[in-house]
């Protein structure tokens, strides 16, 4: 973890520590900012909330949303729940695996794209649905998916991980 990252973690910790039930808001604040929760941040969080490191780690690992490693510059989340399945979501999954050469929880070797599974995006009447860097997409076809992947691969200037944070 870089110096500046540590500073940003400390800022997030300071902002959230006095909230009732502060741990989740704190983890969100860190991940919103850095794109993940660096394992090196755990001692700082634990100290601020008078918890053990194991307790903090236990919470981070319980929730699917929190990442312990930086994501790619773009995050593609594919809905795998029933309504999207009924409209061919698994075909989209196969297409993405083939195009990106990675599986869920993976990031392409060039660091451009991470692939994640989600279980319902609340867009079930416009299925199948995906979320790209926090932007919801509906009625997604394989052709649309190819465009999304191509756009993500092209757009390499954006090196801020925060773009893919949510």
């Amino acid at each position: 973890m870089q110096e500046t990252q540590l500073q940003r973690v400390q800022e997030a910790v300071a902002r959230c520590r006095d909230l009732p039930g502060a741990l989740l808001p704190m983890l969100h604040a860190i991940q919103d900012d850095l794109g993940y929760v660096p394992p090196e941040a755990v001692p700082t969080i634990a100290k601020a909330l008078a918890l053990s490191r194991a307790e903090v780690h236990g919470v981070i690992s319980f929730y699917h949303h929190f990442r312990s490693a930086p994501p790619g510059r773009h995050v593609i989340q594919v809905c795998r729940a029933e309504a999207c399945q009924s409209m061919g979501a698994e075909r989209l999954v196969a297409r993405l695996r083939e195009r990106l050469g990675i599986d869920f929880h993976g990031t392409t070797p060039d660091g451009a794209v991470s692939l994640e599974a989600v279980y319902c995006l609340g867009n079930c009447a416009c299925a199948p649905a995906v979320m790209v860097d926090g932007a919801l997409r509906g009625r997604v076809t394989e052709a649309v998916l190819d465009e999304i992947v191509a756009a993500a691969a092209l757009d390499d200037e954006n090196d801020g991980v925060a773009g893919g944070a949510r």
Binding site: P20, L23, E82, G122, N123
Partner: protein, 519 residues
Amino acid sequence: MSVRIFVPRDSSAVSVGADAVAKAIADEATRRAIPVAVVRNGSRGMLWLEPLVEVETPAGRVGYGPVTVADIPQLFDAGFHRGAPHALCIGPVDDYPWLAKQERLCFARAGVTDPLSWNEYVAHGGSRGLRAALAMTGVDAVAAVTESGLRGRGGAAFPTGIKWKTVLDTAADQKYVVCNADEGDSGTFSDRMVMEDDPFVLIEGMTIAGIATGATIGYIYLRSEYPYAERALMAAIETARSVGVLGDDVLGSGRRFELHVRRGAGAYICGEETSLLESLEGKRGMVRFKPPVPAISGLFGKPTVLNNVITFASIPIIFDRGAAFYRDYGRGRSRGTLPIQLAGNIRQGGLVEKAFGVTLNELLYDFGGGSASGRPIRTVQVGGPLGAYIPESQFDVPLDYEAYASIGAMVGHGGIVVFDDTVDMARMARYAMEFCAIESCGKCTPCRIGSTRGVETIDRIIEGRERGAQLAILEDLCNTMLSGSLCALGGMTPFPVLSALKHFPQDFGLGPDGLAAAA
């Protein structure tokens, strides 16, 4: 005078291009020097028509949809800004049968107003319920909820008035109101739509709960998959504070109510109320043993009103129009209306709010127009991932809590996921077990281990290895999960599995009698 043209800001509409359409309309109007004001309304819930653009005319609002950016020049050529005919025109939106046939109480304003405009909210009946509640004693307010017959819309259908009475009657220095906005069930989006398309109704409903029971702090536990809803809620809460609905002096009554949004973190189990409370307290979402119930010992050990978004959103109209008005909708012990969500492989999917008693046949064919693929509908799953698969022979059962329970099904949060005849029910059964394995909180062995065994067993059945023996193991496993689970995740996952097996044995390589004939 400029023409008002409405383009929804609802995330479903945005997901299919509403932002680009809104911009294209404004740009094209400028180019043609036509005075147009683009308003970002909520969605009407006719989601297959999104982006549904509405034009205000002297004869009412005329709809066009689904509109793409490429359609805009043509629409202007045709004179759509005066409500003129066009291939995409659906006529006056309020008269459109899909909408006109509904009974919209909860969703009366959705799509009509700008969701973030407090003035429009008030102009369309908002805040009257809260004003009425402020003039009542807590005892009378809670009694009104009980009389309305409202039952929790989050799934368990517990009478809301009884819950509120428990909180009212439990003395404490601090009480809380918690809204369950974790909406994890596939095929459901009514909570999301309330929060994005009419957020003040949720704020009003929660405030009434606080006023009625003596709770002064509220939390909305919102799933992390809903960033659009989060932004809408934050903006609406800010406005509610500035107009004096929230804060130290609710509408000048001297009463206090404050409201905060807390984001979940992608765990389905945190929709279960005690797991949700653990999560709000900053812990892993492990399910708690009950008793004590949250109404007595909930958030931080204090009495807590915990309800679903739709439950709270149903409250203002009960106080505005009276308990009897609400109770007059529905049948049997299922009173009022249910916002039903038509999803999956359906031609005309979206939000249908109807009194209890409507049938799947009406929903799937009259409203839904059949499958999206044009193939026959084979089955639907009602009530989310823990709900049973329902075969066509039961499509005429009236949708109410008791009628559904009597066929081993569940209304749940009112989500209906449609499958055509290409669905493989053995795969869906396998998925149900897999989902349970992924989302189990890990407290009970039958749920944590049994679900993984279930996946393996169904795999063997699909592959045709010792089908008879594996079937016996699967039924055994399901019985263990049914009886040995602390909450409904482990306890109800057997419903989709066993209903798939019962109604579609051929998909598992079995004879129609369910015996392992083919093995």
